[in-house]
Symmetry: D2
Subunit: 231 residues, 4 copies
C-alpha cells in the first residue's frame, strides 16, 4: 500500500511549446507587411505590449504539466482560454499526496472585507494548521481505502477526500492567456492593477512566468515593462 | 453554531433568462431574410437542429442557480462557454452542507476500463458509503471550525474540507452550450452518441433540461427529435 | 428593382437584454454571501470595477441588432466572446445599401507607422472619396444584378460587391465582453489605455455604450470611473 | 505599379505545430494513469474519437498560413476557438490579388431553400462569372489606386475593393477545433452529419485536413473512422 506523502510545493513543468518571440513578430507582420531587423523586432514587441495589440501573442503556445492541491486547481480551471487534461478520480485510484502549509505560508487574514492582507501565523497557529492538514488527510485516506476495499466505486469513495489532495493536469495555453493568468495570479511589484491572489496559485504563477520567459524572453520583458497587463 | 446538514439532491433553479423560441427564429431570419408563420417557424427550428445550424441557438440565454457537491461542480466548470459566479471559501465562512449518496446512487463499477457500467451496492456497501460520508464530514467540519477558532484564515482552514461539501454558483449560459452540456452529461435513451456521465451531474442535467424546455420548448423538442446532439 | 441607398450611419438597436446592475450584485454576493443596501450595492459595483473582479459583469447580457458596412463588421466579428447571426449572401439576395464617408469622416492619415493620427480631408479629397464610393457601388450593384439575371448563384455573384456594402447582424454578448469591446473600439478621453479604433467602429461603440448604460447604469458609471478597462 | 493577379486557389501552408498523436495519448493518460504500448495507444485514440472524449485532442496545435478571398475568410473567422492574425487594410497597401471562379466552380443553385444543391454553369454563365469578376476587380483596383494617389487614407480607399480580394492570415488552432472546422466545412462522404459548405472554404478544408493528417495521422484516421464528428 502506498504511503501518504505531505508536500507544500506547487510544481509546474514545461512539456512542450510552439514558437517564441519570432512567432509573435511573424504574426504581427502578417498584418503590417513590413520587414524587420533584430532592433525593429524588439521595437515591434515593445509597441504591441504597450498599445495592447493582443492577437499576435496568441501565436505562441505553452504546454505545462502542473501538480497542485485541488483547491488551487479549482482557481486555475476558471481560466477558460486554454485546454486542461486532468487526473480523474473516476478512472483511476488517486495517489496519496496531500498539501500541508509550509512555515512561510501566511495564516492570518487581517483588515476588513475588500481590503484584506495576510500575515504569518504565530507558533500555535502554524502548529495547528499543519497538524490538522495532516490529521484530516490521514483520516480521509483511510476512509477512501476502506470504501475501495468494500468494493465501492472510486468515483464515490473519493468524495471523502479533502481539498488539499494533490491533482495533476496538462495545460495547453497561448501566451496572451498566460499573461492574463499572470496579471491576476501574481501580486507583482511591477503590476499597475491590484490583485489579491491565493498564496498557492501565486507560487504556481511564478513558475509559469519562468517557463514563459524561457520560451519568449523579449515578449515577457515587454509584459513587465508595461505594467504586467495582458495586451 | 450551525448544524451539519446532509443532502443527496442536486438543485437547479432558473433565476432569469433572455428570449425563447422566437429569439432563435429571429436570429435565423437575420441570415435568410424570409418571413414566417407559426408552422414555418416550427419547420425552421426543426431544420436548424437537424442540419446543425448552431449559431441561432446562442441567442437564448439561461441564468441558473446551482447547488451541488464540489466534486460535481468540478465537472460542471469544465464547460468553458458560459459564465460562473461561485461561493468563495476565501471570502466567506462556508455552510456545513454535505452530500451523502442516496439509496438509489449506484455504488459498484463493473466491467473493464472504457466500458464500465454501474450497479446498486449491496446492503453493506450502502451502509458503509453513507456512514463514511457522514463520519468524514463531521470530522472535517470540526477541524474547519477548530482552525477558524484559532484565528487561521478561512482560505487555509477550508483545505481540510472534503469534496462532498456543497457549493453554489450562478451559471449564465446560452442554449447551444446548454445542449452541449446535456448531450455530454445525460446518458439519455434518445442520444445517438454514447456518454458516461457521473450520476450526480446527470441529476443536475435533468433539471437543466426542464428549465431549458420551459424557456424554449420547440427548440428542446427538436434537440430531442434529432438525437440530442448540440447543433 | 430596388434602388441603391447611400448611408453614412452605423446603427445599433437594443433588441433584448438579461438583467442589469442587480444581476451583477447578485452574482458577486453568491461569492461573498454578504447582504446589501443600495449604498452597499453601489460600493460593491465600484470595488468590482476597480479591482478587476470581472466574472460578475458576465451575468448581464445584451442582444443588439447592428447595421454597418462589411469592413466594419469584419473588425466587430474579431470579438470571440459573444454570438453573431449575420445576413447571408448565400441564402438571400442582398439589399443595395452602401456606405459613403460623411463630411465628418477624417480622410488623411498623418504621422509615422505606429503613431498615426487622422485629419479631415480637403475639398477635393472629400469629393473624390464620396464620388468613388458611390461610383463603385453603382458599378458593382449592376454587375451583381447582371450575374443574378444570368442564373449565377447568389454566393458567386456577391463576390463582386465591395466592402462598403452594409450587412446586418444580431449580437448577443455579456457586459464584460461589451466593456472589452468599448475599451478597444472607442478612443475615449477617460481611457487609461491607448487605442486607435477605426472611425466607423467607434461610431458603433458609442451607440453600444448608450445601450449598455441604459441596461446597467451604475456598472457603466464605474467602468468610466476606473479608466474604461474591462474588469 | 503592381500588376493585378487573378487566382482561383485557396492556399493553406503549415507554418509550425505543437505535438502529434503522442500528445493526445499523453494528455489522456494524465486522466487515466495507465501505461501504454503502440497497440494500446492506437486503441486509446480510437476510443477517444468514438466516445467523444474531446479534451485530449486540444493538446495538439497547428499554425497555418492561409491565403483566400475575403468572402471565404469571413466564414473562416466565425470559428471562435483559435487565433487569427490577418493582413490589415489599415496598416498596409493591399496587394492586387483577386479571386476568379475556376471552370470547376459550380455556378447554379438548384432546389428549394434549405435543400439546395449546386451544378456547373453553362458556357455563358462561366464566361459571364469570370469576366465580371475580372472587370470589377480591375475597376475597383483603379479606384483604390486613384484614391490613394489623392492622399486618401488606406482604410477609406479600401472600402471600394470587392469581396473577391485575397487576404492572408495566420491561424493558430488546436486539433479539436480543426476537427470541428472540418466537420462543418467539408461535405465529405464519410460524414454522418449533413453540411452544406461554401465551395471555396471546402477547398481550404481539404488542405487543412492534409496538414492535420501529417501532424497527427492516427487521430485523423480515427476522426474519419467515426463519422467525422468533432469529439
Amino acid at each position: 500500500m502506498t504511503e501518504i506523502r505531505f508536500r507544500s510545493d506547487i510544481d509546474v513543468e514545461l512539456v512542450d511549446h510552439l514558437g517564441g518571440d519570432h512567432s509573435i513578430v511573424r504574426a504581427a507582420r502578417v498584418s503590417s507587411g513590413t520587414a524587420g531587423t533584430p532592433e525593429k523586432d524588439r521595437g515591434l514587441l515593445n509597441m504591441l505590449a504597450r498599445d495592447r495589440h493582443g492577437s499576435p501573442f496568441e501565436s505562441v503556445v505553452l504546454q505545462l504539466k502542473v501538480e497542485c492541491p485541488i483547491f488551487t486547481a479549482r482557481e486555475w480551471f476558471r481560466h477558460r482560454v486554454g485546454s486542461f487534461s486532468e487526473t480523474s478520480g473516476r478512472y483511476k485510484v488517486l495517489e496519496p499526496d496531500f498539501y500541508v502549509p509550509s512555515f512561510n505560508r501566511p495564516l492570518r487574514q487581517v483588515g476588513k472585507p475588500g481590503a484584506y492582507s495576510f500575515e504569518k501565523g504565530d507558533y500555535k497557529q502554524v502548529h495547528v494548521a499543519r497538524a490538522e492538514h495532516r490529521r484530516m488527510a490521514n483520516e480521509a485516506w483511510d476512509s477512501y481505502q476502506f470504501m475501495l476495499g468494500q468494493g465501492i466505486a472510486r468515483e464515490v469513495a473519493r468524495d471523502a477526500l479533502p481539498l488539499n489532495l494533490y491533482t495533476s493536469f496538462l495545460w495547453t495555453v497561448n501566451l496572451r492567456a498566460v499573461m492574463n493568468f499572470l496579471s491576476l495570479r501574481w501580486a507583482h511589484e511591477k503590476s499597475t492593477v491590484p490583485t489579491f491572489p491565493l498564496y498557492e496559485i501565486q507560487q504556481g504563477a511564478m513558475q509559469v512566468e519562468k517557463h514563459a520567459a524561457a520560451v519568449a524572453p523579449t515578449a515577457m520583458e515587454m509584459f513587465n515593462a508595461h505594467g504586467r497587463v495582458a495586451p
